[in-house]
């Protein structure tokens, strides 16, 4: 091929590349928001897509099919397409949908995912578009979906809540010189007992995981500034908290594996009878009963460890700001999260409703004497004191991974605790700013 031919080919290729590239760039630019969409106050009609994660199975499918059928019956002319996907890597799936501009109309997600999407203008601000909905939910649940860092907008209808007690292996406590009748309630008590266990036993531990951001909150560390625009957990209280882990590691109360363990490993270790303490949820007890009956026989249940308020998690239903049927999307999301539907779902899923007043019903207040009911009633009472400690701006696994890695480096002696937390805070602030 001559140079002219080569040039022509190159130019053709470059043109084609540029065209495709520009289309990609245009496609990925979702800075613009369609909050002004006139679909917001429209008629409740049309077809929308409802996205959930890991809920299409024998246990939940009948519930959702009935829910959708009854909504469609009450609202003639509406069709709800229910889409369910595996929860693994759900943020990646959401990001692909959001980047492609194909986010479903109503999506089940946590506040940490909602925050980033809201930052990009992809989600409907309910404090403007549906402010009266606030009365339908517990104040703390509504507040958990209200993001101070984004000007105080609310970006999701609160759905279910989850919190739970602490579980202990009584046999291990006794074996290692601890009294199962004196279970710890604060972090300092927990660390003291973990130290005692480390002194008396070398093959089992009290703790098997590095603290996550919500544990910092439970310890009493201020996680962000008042505006919600910067992380602050590298303060003196944060350093003090991690120092306790460092001391415990030095006293061999934590294994090297525990510096890198995820929650799944922590649960496995407890089920295997090698771990004495497990912060659980309302369905942990049934899980232990089914999958680790020997441990279940020896389990003691105590309050969730905290120095002020226990942690709880929240799941919400967000509405796509670009939905062509926003009125329908809002109506459906509110229907799913209303008191009766949340109660029914909570019974099936062993979670707690975020709708106002539902927790005062007999299902969450009357103890029939069985361990499962006791856990449910105690956890429901705990919801009233609990706080969603995980800051929504602490988004994605990268922040959590960095925090865990930095703490591990501090425990290994590669850097001081202060340096480790400074590095983690700097990383999270950088990411927050980059997406701002």
């Amino acid at each position: 091929m001559t140079s002219t031919g080569r040039r022509r080919t190159f130019v053709a290729g470059a043109l084609l590349g540029s065209l495709l590239l520009s289309s990609c760039v245009i496609g990925s630019d979702s800075d613009s928001t369609s909050n002004d969409s006139n679909a917001s106050d429209g008629e409740v009609s049309g077809t929308i897509t409802f996205q959930t994660w890991n809920l299409k199975n024998d246990k939940f499918t009948p519930y959702f099919n009935d829910l959708i059928a009854s909504f469609e019956k009450e609202n003639p002319g509406t069709t709800i397409k229910w889409v369910d996907q595996p929860a693994e890597g759900y943020q990646d799936k959401l990001s692909a949908d959001a980047a492609a501009g194909s986010l479903p109309d109503v999506v089940d997600m946590g506040p940490e995912a909602a925050y980033t999407l809201a930052q990009s203008g992809v989600l409907l601000d309910l404090s403007k578009e549906d402010p009266e909905a606030q009365d339908q939910y517990l104040d703390k649940a509504w507040e958990a979906m209200t993001f101070e860092g984004l000007g105080g907008g609310t970006y999701g209808y609160p759905w279910y809540l989850n919190t739970g007690p602490s579980f202990y292996n009584k046999e291990l406590l006794q074996k290692c010189g601890l009294d199962p009748d004196k279970l710890p309630t604060t972090y300092d008590e927990l660390f003291d007992q973990a130290e005692t266990m480390a002194e008396n036993c070398d093959d089992v531990q009290m703790l098997a995981r590095m603290p996550a951001i919500e544990n910092f909150g439970e310890y009493g560390v201020q996680l962000m500034n008042e505006d919600g625009t910067e992380f602050t957990y590298n303060n003196a209280e944060g350093v003090k908290f991690v120092e306790r882990f460092k001391d415990l590691y030095a006293d061999q109360g934590l294994t090297e594996e525990s510096l890198n363990n995820l929650q799944t490993t922590e649960v496995e270790e407890f089920k295997a009878g090698r771990l004495a303490y497990l912060p659980g949820s309302s369905y942990t007890l049934n899980d232990l009963k089914d999958t680790a009956p020997e441990v279940y026989e020896n389990v003691a249940i105590g309050p969730r460890i905290n120095n002020g308020s226990p942690n709880m998690y929240i799941e919400s239903l967000v509405v796509n700001a670009q939905s062509e049927h926003q009125a329908l999307a809002k109506a459906f999301a509110k229907y799913v999260t209303d008191s009766s539907n949340q109660l029914e779902f909570a019974k099936k899923a062993d979670v707690f409703p975020s709708s106002a007043g539902t927790l005062d019903g007999p299902y969450f207040t009357e103890d029939d004497g069985t361990p499962a009911t006791q856990v449910r009633v105690d956890s429901a009472a705990q919801v009233k004191e609990a706080v969603v400690w995980w800051p929504p701006a602490f988004s994605g696994s990268a922040d959590a991974e960095t925090l865990r890695e930095q703490i591990a480096q501090a425990l290994l002696g590669d850097k001081s605790v202060q340096e480790a937390l400074d590095a983690s805070v700097e990383y999270s602030n950088e990411r927050l700013e980059a997406n701002g």
Binding site: L20, L21, S28, S95, A99, E257, L259, N260, A398, Q409
Partner: protein, 326 residues
């Protein structure tokens, strides 16, 4: 070939074809032009499917990455041009230096093993024709297994309560289990072992094909000269497959530098204790995925990785050329 060649060929063809005299000169020229166009278009039409895939799947993402590397883009926000900021940030990022060190070490350790060990196995298999089929299948089996499955198998094997440690304890080799999955360096070397185990069969098959091409008379001559197994291997087999060794070095070095699956699975996706086993690809994955993905920064790391790999390939090609010339 020059651009004028097709036209000349077309003219000759038409002249030899002997068009009927009553056709006008204009009609001849038109037919001539059509033939030229057909000659020009045909190869492009054959190439079109492959070219489309390459342009869409390789060229466009590459150009896009190149462009992103100089911006502060995130997944959901088109960023601004920031010059070399991403690269400056990268060289201050301790995770980048860890990842670069791990990927480099991986390449340095894995490639020599990948070049030599499969060759030795191939020579061994080739020398036992009766068992060649069995060995080929047995050694190739890990190649067709998913890296995730392989990783899970080895995770269970290398765990504190896994088969290897239990065996070592039973045989009283150690009093404490080996921290294969928690010690930074042990984990890295465990992952290298898994990579070698997975890749042996693939490269062995390549070597087996190359061994067939070595002239048998050279082995006969070596035997007549009294050369032993090792001498024959070094003086006949190795020179006979030198170009294949270069190819294997090339392929395995690229694969080793881009290691992801083995470490990802062995560390449960975490990059090891304190992130000490992060590799370049894992870092790119961490920065470039998720809702808060910093695509600009991830693009810059990808670009650096591309330059390193490109340099590695060019160096290997230069060595190869030098060897050929000498």
């Amino acid at each position: 070939m020059t651009a004028t060649a097709p036209r000349a060929t077309a003219q000759r063809t038409t002249a030899r074809g002997g068009f009927p005299r009553w056709r006008s000169g204009r009609s001849l020229r038109r037919r001539d032009r059509l033939a030229t166009h057909r000659w020009f278009l045909t190869p492009w039409l054959f190439l079109a499917p492959a070219l489309t895939v390459i342009v869409l799947m390789v060229l466009v993402p590459f150009v896009n990455t190149l462009q992103l590397a100089f911006t502060d883009s995130t997944l959901l926000r088109t960023g601004d041009f920031v010059g070399l900021d991403n690269f400056r940030k990268m060289f201050d990022d301790e995770r980048f230096s860890t990842a670069l060190l791990n990927s480099t070490l991986y390449t340095v350790c894995v490639v020599p093993v990948m070049v030599v060990l499969p060759l030795m196995l191939a020579a061994l298999v080739a020398s036992t024709p009766r068992l060649a089929g069995f060995f080929r299948t047995a050694m190739y089996l890990p190649v067709i297994m998913s890296p995730v499955v392989v990783g899970l198998i080895w995770t269970n094997m290398l765990d504190k309560q896994g088969l290897v440690n239990e065996l070592a304890a039973t045989l009283h080799i150690v009093s404490e289990p080996f921290p294969f999955l928690s010690d930074r360096w042990l984990l890295l070397f465990s992952a290298m072992f898994v990579t070698v185990w997975m890749g042996l069969g693939y490269y062995m098959v390549i070597y087996l094909a190359a061994l067939v091409n070595i002239d048998r008379s050279l082995y006969d001559a070596a035997a007549v000269d009294g050369a032993g197994t090792i001498r024959t291997f070094l003086d006949v087999t190795v020179p006979g497959v030198r170009s294949t060794m270069a190819l294997v070095a090339l392929l395995s070095s690229v694969a080793a530098f881009r290691v992801f699956g083995e470490i990802y699975v062995l560390t449960d996706g975490t990059g090891g204790v304190g992130g000490g086993d992060l590799t370049m690809t894992m870092l790119i994955q961490r920065e470039g995925t998720g809702l808060q993905a910093r695509t600009g920064y991830a693009g810059a790391i990808s670009l650096v990785m591309f330059v390193i790999l490109g340099g590695l390939l060019l160096a290997q090609l230069a060595v190869q050329r030098k060897q050929r010339n000498s």
